[in-house]
Amino acid sequence: MLIEKIVRETYASARSKETQPLQWSILRYVGRSTEQECTMIRIAAYLGLTHAPVVRAIKTLVKRGLMDQKPNPFDARSHVLSLTELGYEKLATDPILGVVERIQRLPEGEREFFKRLIRSLSITPEQNEIGGNEKTSRRR
């Protein structure tokens, strides 16, 4: 429950005009990737999502002036995305930075313990996933 509370506090507002968690993930990806990595297909694969929600989120971000799209110089069938100046300004207000700052304020021993704990939780499957569908659990 505490983890859920921390996440809720991080994204304080769920109003539709606010930047949503998926949109933040896309801004972060585009903000730190090379131009050729910034295609909708690669972003969807990175986030483990189908194309439809990613396309919708990209449209919103472009409409809000946070990202630009232009034809992909490596593949005429797709577009590459980049952050606008406004997009970089938005990224500088990423709510996750507040969590980072809170973690950095922890004493070193607690910080190291937290790091190991969160890492273990991240790679431990939920009970109902253990022995689950082999196709979905197989790695590439």
Binding site: I123, S137, R139, R140
Partner: protein, 122 residues
């Protein structure tokens, strides 16, 4: 020549990466298991960087990342993944970052992407 540790259980991938780097300033040291990789980093022969696939056989690379980070926190480590294992690539990258792998390459990648990244970080 800069020694680059390349770790993946997929031997075709290992061969391809080393072929990508032929004629460059990198000398590929290949390992296809976690144990083999950890033996390479016993502290007697050091590396300019490491390219590590997150999934190695049925295991993940976290123990190797911890060894690399404990031996040299400033070593440039590139984590590589194509996904799977119930983890998104976003999550895999985040796990890598808190384990000291500050760079990430999403499979598949082009030779130019690999060389540009290595040239930038090593």
């Amino acid at each position: 020549m800069k020694r680059l540790l390349v770790v993946d259980d997929d031997r075709e991938f290992l061969a391809l990466v080393c072929k990508f780097l032929e004629g460059s300033s990198y000398d590929c040291i290949k390992a296809d298991t976690l144990d083999a990789a950890i033996k390479h980093v016993d502290g007697t022969k050091w590396f300019a960087g490491a390219l590590v696939d997150f999934w190695i056989g049925e295991e993940n690379a976290i123990p190797l990342l911890d060894v690399l980070h404990s031996l040299d926190p400033s070593l440039p480590v590139v984590l590589v993944s194509g996904g799977g294992g119930g983890l998104t690539l976003e999550k895999t990258q985040a796990i890598g970052e808190i384990s000291g792998a500050m760079y990430f390459l999403q499979k598949p990648f082009r030779k130019a992407e690999l060389v540009a990244l290595l040239d930038q970080i090593t």
